[in-house]
Symmetry: C2
Subunit: 134 residues, 2 copies
């Protein structure tokens, strides 16, 4: 069995899954990544303006879902969940690309993040050039 230990939590004005934007570029609000004191040493070297990949645990998701109907076209047949970004999936790990806006100790303010208030953070990685080139 694989166990994840949250390294922090998302602080966001988003509290309702039904009204939350589905992707960070769809008007998601700024949010604060609030890290636990235990990982303080891992936070050094964050810089304002840097782009980060934030991995979250989408704790409100349904993990029994294998096929979904894409919201872009309700007439389309159901789609395998691994060809979608649906939060409902066997291991609901959220992947969010954000920009660092401000750093205050364990609190990192970031640009548009489509995760609900209280969502556990499980990892943060820098964006690499190889992530964005084809």
């Amino acid at each position: 069995m694989i166990t994840l230990s949250p390294i922090g939590v998302v602080e966001s004005p988003l509290t309702d899954r039904k009204t939350a934007p589905k992707q960070g570029d769809e008007g998601a609000p700024e949010a604060v990544l609030v890290f636990t004191p235990e990982v303080r040493d891992g936070l050094r070297d964050f810089e304002v303006g840097a782009w980060l990949l934030v991995l979250t645990w989408l704790h409100r998701s349904n993990r029994d879902v294998l096929v979904v109907r894409p919201r872009s076209d309700r007439n389309r047949p159901q789609t395998g969940v691994f060809s979608t970004r649906s939060p409902d999936r066997p291991n609901p790990i959220g992947l969010h690309r954000v920009q660092v806006l401000a750093i205050d100790g364990l609190r990192i303010r970031v640009s548009g993040l489509e995760a609900l208030d209280g969502t556990p953070i499980v990892d943060v990685k820098p964006v690499l050039d190889t992530d964005i080139e084809r």
Copy 2:
């Protein structure tokens, strides 16, 4: 506590962490994603040529690491692990961008993947335009 259930496993010629490439663009070999029968329905709609993000559990990692010395410059001071892609980190989730080369039921052959043989797969997502634009 958060628990992940593997949805498959990486089949790769890479067996030794010391000699494995660190990123997929550094000569990593083709690999096969071997999924469990339980998630078969989630695999439909994969297409040859598509780009996928594969999330793995880097099971050989040291989870107690918060600062690392970047391999690019051994003279630099230690760096907070969340500003690096080091596999040694509190929640060692690997993130790999690969292209689908062939599909055979539960076995999906993909381009350069820098994960060791036997690495558990925990999620697969499509690459979105918003992942690769700044």
